[in-house]
Amino acid sequence: MAETHSLQDLQQPAASSKVFVQRDYGSGTISKFQTKFPSELESRIDKQQFEETIQTLNNLYAEAEKLGGKSYLEGCLACLTAYTVFLCMETHYEKVLKKISRYIKDQNEKIYAPRGLLLTDPIERGLRVVEITIFEDRNIGSGR
């Protein structure tokens, strides 16, 4: 065990493992992530805090994909202009995605980084998973 650990030190500045929060398809194909608290994070962060982050993300994605008057208007306008309007205009979805990136960055800075965790924006993983990287502290014992 000790040999493994020192080898890790030589190769990596900080050992890490990853936890993946999968998609929740219970309501169909909309972008929604499971709020189930992964066991690997139990010692690192509050369950409630984590669930709040995921829930906020889910709400933001719901806002992006919301079907309503505004999105239909955008769709009809696009159709009438033979979809050329998207060449100059940013879609509502893209605007919300930027909002989500800012939110994740903010959460990382305030809550997750101090606890040795890092949230990866799901869009970088094709909206499949929320990847949480757990950085091991070298001073603490063997890897988890």
């Binding site: 065990m1 040999e3 493994t4 079907l67 159709c79 879609t91 869009i123």
Partner: protein
């Protein structure tokens, strides 16, 4: 099998890549950072520095475009002058607007990412493998890779995609022509030279609807033209002789109308019931197959809502980030590894962006061979036996007590990446995969060893 040619990637590349990487390293330092489309693993072609995406086999797209342009050209050149003179000037105007709409819709359908799902990163794939194996590790054969979930109180089966190494989301299907998983996969259309999926279905629909209008319009105008000509005291034959182009247009339009109108009608039905061609053909939600009261779980049970959702809903973003840059950490080794591996084995004449594809394919071939050749032996789950060729290098890094480099739940990818750090870059179409897998794998080895003996493994000699 197509995958055979990728089998020899590991041993020879291992021995050669260190030296060649050193040679190339200094040269490649000044190389520009590459964009992600250049290492995209699917069978796609990219133009305009990643802005435009097309399937590798563009099918008959040139023919489609050619037919439309030629027919409209003939119409404007030969029929319009007569009709403008005898009827109204709006005829070429309407024709022109329809023509533009058709061409723009067609190009948007062909050149838009249909909703390709990027392949799972090696860490994700390993995580999924771990979950599958812990649930079914005692079975004789690898468990059938499906997962059942409830959508709107209806059971839906999600299949595992061996190429993309993930469970496909609902309504997603893997297109073998493009070698990609596509969300809300409708079909691969050779006329358009691309898959039709979530992101370009509305363009496809507007293309076929506007094309139906255009062909009907041209057909009607040409018939009117010939009729008017023959009414001026000439016979039909004479009228046709005066305007031979009209016959060509008539023939093209006549045959197109049947197919295009039929297709439009079919897709209108699909849109109204929120179905895809794929689901309709397979009969996924047909009443014959489902015994209890069930139907399409995605339908809103309201025609107008279904239409609005499919055609006017929010435009989802492209998930593959074609124009993003690969991080410099990976770009340099990737070039070196590409140079090394390209010289070492016979490659089909693919462009440079297929190195990632090679690694994915080699992993896929390994997994497939697992399934085929080891199904009679309830041994280590996929991944273990194949580490034996690499085991020499692997076990030198692991502790001596890890007699078996069998790591249940860790897919073959970690051994590949462990043995050659330069291989890391080939796995990632994602810059965030910068943390090399050795550490998690090694740390997992220490955990899992305790359970390994339950499964039964082949100790390394």
């Amino acid at each position: 099998m197509k995958n055979c040619e990728y089998q020899q990637i590991d041993p020879r590349a291992l021995s050669v890549s260190p030296s060649s990487a050193q040679q190339n390293h200094t040269e490649k330092k000044v190389q520009r950072s590459r964009r992600k489309w250049e290492v995209f693993p699917g069978k796609n072609k990219f133009f305009c520095d990643g802005r435009v995406i097309l399937a590798r086999h563009s099918g008959v797209l040139p023919l489609t475009l050619g037919l439309i342009v030629v027919t409209c050209g003939l119409f404007f050149a030969f029929d319009c002058p007569f009709l403008v003179e005898h009827l109204t000037v709006f005829i070429p105007v309407i024709g022109g607007v329809l023509f533009l709409f058709v061409v723009i819709s067609l190009l948007r359908t062909s050149f838009t990412d249909p909703g390709i799902l990027p392949r799972a990163t090696p860490d994700e794939a390993a995580d999924i493998e771990k979950q599958i194996d812990t649930s079914g590790s005692s079975t004789y054969r690898p468990p059938p890779r499906t997962k059942e979930i409830l959508i709107n109180q209806q059971v839906v089966k999600l299949k595992y995609c061996f190429t993309c190494k993930m469970f496909r989301p609902p309504r997603t299907s893997h297109c073998s022509l493009c070698d990609n998983c596509v969300e809300r996969f409708d079909h691969h259309c050779p006329w358009v030279g691309n898959c039709v999926g979530k992101r370009n279905y509305r363009f496809f629909y507007s293309f076929i609807i506007s094309l139906s209008f255009l062909t009907s319009f041209i057909f009607g105008c040409v018939v009117t033209h010939i009729t008017l000509r023959s009414q001026e005291g000439k016979s039909l034959i004479q009228a046709v002789q005066e305007s031979p182009a009209s016959v060509v247009e008539l023939v093209i339009c006549f045959f197109s109308i049947w197919s295009v109108l039929g297709l439009s009608g079919f897709h209108t039905y699909l849109v109204a019931s929120n179905l895809t061609t794929n689901e309709d053909i397979k009969g996924s939600w047909s009443s014959k197959r489902c015994t209890e009261e069930s139907g399409n779980p995605y339908s809103y049970n309201n025609i107008i809502t279904n239409c609005c959702v499919t055609l006017c809903g929010p435009m989802p973003p492209s998930l593959i980030d074609r124009r993003g840059f690969l991080s410099v950490v990976e770009a340099t080794p990737a070039a070196a590894a590409a140079a090394a591996s390209a010289s070492e084995m016979e490659l089909p004449p693919f462009p440079a962006k297929n190195e990632a594809n090679m690694c994915t394919r080699s992993t896929k071939s390994v997994l497939e061979r697992m399934v085929h050749s080891f199904d009679s032996r309830g041994l280590c789950p996929p991944g273990a036996p194949k580490t034996t060729p690499l085991g020499v290098e692997v076990s030198s890094m692991a502790t001596p007590s890890a007699g078996c480099s069998c790591q249940p739940g860790v897919a073959p990818c970690p051994p590949f990446s462990r043995s050659s750090k330069r291989r890391d870059s080939l796995h990632s179409s994602n810059p965030a995969f910068r943390l090399a897998s050795p550490s998690p794998s090694l740390s997992r080895t220490t955990l899992i060893l305790g359970d390994a003996h339950d499964i039964g493994f082949i100790p390394l000699p």
